[in-house]
Assembly symmetry: C2
């Protein structure tokens, strides 16, 4: 059996300037540019293996061990674009095998539970598109390829780069200039860390696609966000990253998360993603920054109640004195720290912080959080020797 | 002892187009016009008695049986303006007693617990200003007097009228054109009813004065609200009242509440007045309207978690099938309905509603609500024979 293989990993990214609103639903063209930080793949990544060969009879997708449909228009758009680029390559070199005409097997696995409510579609579509681009040996740049990932899931385009990434909204109606670009590589500002507080949600949230369409249609305040607020913030945030201006980056991140959720609330009927636990985490972050009279933490919330806290490595002990004290009953801390190190955070709180504290730590807040994920800025998609497909049969292992 | 007396009651009003933001803090001049419905005084009112006489030695204020300071600049501004108008009257007619030079005793009582978190300052300042204006026999119109009440508490100016009231923001820097006017009297649209769900709050909210100042200073979306959203809505809502267009009035009311809370969330640090219970009430209202495929209820939230539900008398049975079913464990229903009538709401739900319901009534939602207050549109300040001051001594009874 003649088979060709490729595998890649792709990261999760968490926006610091939010994508909310499509100007074209089919092409996933956004109403505003956005910015994100790519997270380390040790903690959160999708691994995707693909194979093709003349004897495969169907396109097949297996996600986390379960066969899934490839019929969605979004997935079909990605496959069509990739095969088209491969076709152009084959047209220019007759010796190349006709991958563009053969079926594909795609096998994909996350190293984190999808149940955690973390947007896995970005990493998933990024991995799918990069793996096939690699299999097809496409010569296009990552920014070019990001336009294909964008059609799968808007924010997926940002997962094609590591470090600090901008998705330029573009102006063209065909989406040809709506792509991801690197603002700065991970190595430019390697001390950016993230603590994700997974907040227990009682109900399913409004899906982001229908939610953002309703916002575009009904929110008056959204118009101002798109017209004035985000374009200004986009330039300011890129500058703050290039200059490693943490206080500015942090403030813009928090403000933009609030602005996004404000337009959700201004949607009719209103959309609520944050719950009372989310709000208490926001209050705690502002109290922590006020306590130190210094910005040590920046929160951001996607279309769900989970809090992503960004902070610099140098401020970890300051932040963790508070958040380990508050959330030590949940799991996740042990993945990065020994019990001795964790005890130090408590000690720091008890000996240094507690005496000057003018507010009480809310011990019940812990009950609204199910898990903490500790991670940091990371690289873009990585080649891997791991293959999820049996090289003899072309079937999932 | 020579003493002169006057007493009045004044109502609570609940805005349907929200006042949020001052352009002048000392004069309580708003950044936008607002609209409210005045509520019936059987359910919610302040009763204020005032007296003056040459032998009184101090200005004195007794609120709900407790002596309070009159030193606040806001109260002093009100007293100064009222004495100035009285002075002008005395100057034009030398026979008039010199009330403007004598001290005042002010005694005030609410017929509802302040603990309920219902803005009592509007009714309080309206009653204070109207009682003194009456004592002083001031010839000015209610709109003129409303400018004085406005200096005490912005929204107090709207409590000088019954029915449907607009507070025109005005343009002058001295506030001379920032006053309340009647949009329509109670009798124009007498079927407007209100159910107030008093939501249990665990913490004290951000005071509205400092909250709105922070919004003006930090929210980008607030600029759009003030510049474009509210001016448009102000005209639309007045029209909806004049035409008794309930679906439009209801939609504008809900949207404006959401818009106001969205700008609070866009404030930095963000301000949260609604909690998870408030949000669930919002969702329930939209579900109720969707169920009937007709607008039967409109929610609005002030600077706190309490929900005010407006509805038309003719839709009461439709609304109460849901809200009495959901909140029947809390007190307040018995003030307006017999147990037989209440049983009818349950029966209506069980026999007519339940079979077509595509969502579940959340029985836990009841736990977030402590009380229901049932009321309706009402008249403005009313003269009363009741006097809270001993006519012999000039002291509180």
């Amino acid at each position: 059996m003649t088979l060709y293989f490729a595998s890649t990993t792709a990261p999760v990214n968490i926006a610091t300037l939010k994508y909310w609103g499509k100007r074209d639903k089919d092409l996933n063209l956004p109403t505003n540019s956005s910015i994100s930080v790519t997270l380390a793949q040790d903690d959160l990544r999708t691994l995707t293996s693909v194979c093709t060969g003349p004897e495969l009879t169907d396109d097949k997708l297996v996600l986390n061990g379960k066969e899934e449909s490839l019929a969605s228009e979004r997935t079909q758009n990605c496959l069509k674009d990739l095969r088209q680029l491969r076709k152009e390559l084959e047209n220019s070199d007759a010796k190349l095998p006709k991958f563009s005409e053969w079926k594909l097997t795609i096998v994909s696995e996350n190293n984190f539970p999808t149940a955690a409510g973390l947007a896995s579609s970005a990493a998933g579509f990024a991995a799918l598109v990069v793996a096939i681009a690699k299999l097809y040996q496409l010569p296009q740049s990552l920014s070019e390829i990001s336009k294909i990932a964008r059609k799968g899931s808007g924010s997926a385009c940002r997962s094609l780069f590591g470090g600090y990434v901008a998705w330029e909204m573009g102006n063209e109606t065909d989406g040809s200039d709506s792509k991801a670009v690197e603002v700065a590589p991970m190595a430019h500002w390697p001390d950016m860390k993230a603590a994700i507080l997974v907040v227990s949600a009682s109900k399913k949230d409004t899906p982001s696609t229908s939610g953002m369409q309703l916002t575009v249609k009904t929110s008056d305040l959204f118009k101002e966000r798109v017209r004035d607020v985000v374009p200004r913030r986009f330039e300011e945030m890129k500058k703050s990253i290039r200059e490693k201006n943490w206080p500015l980056f942090a403030e813009l991140t928090m403000k933009d998360s609030n602005s996004f959720h404000a337009t959700c609330l201004d949607t009719f009927p209103p959309i609520f993603y944050m719950n009372d636990t989310s709000k208490k985490i926001i209050k705690l972050c502002h109290q922590i920054n006020a306590f130190y009279n210094e910005t040590v933490v920046a929160y951001t919330f996607d279309a769900g109640p989970n809090a992503v806290l960004y902070y610099l490595k140098e401020n970890e002990h300051k932040l963790f004195a508070f958040i380990y004290r508050t959330f030590n009953k949940v799991s996740g801390w042990e993945t990065k720290f020994s019990s001795d190190e964790l005890a130090q955070f408590i000690k720091h709180f008890d000996t240094t912080v507690a005496k000057d504290l003018d507010f009480e730590i809310d011990d019940e807040l812990c009950q609204g959080v199910s898990k903490v994920i500790l991670t940091q800025v990371g690289p873009g998609p990585q080649p891997t020797d791991e293959c999820l497909i049996d090289t003899a049969t072309g079937l999932p292992k």
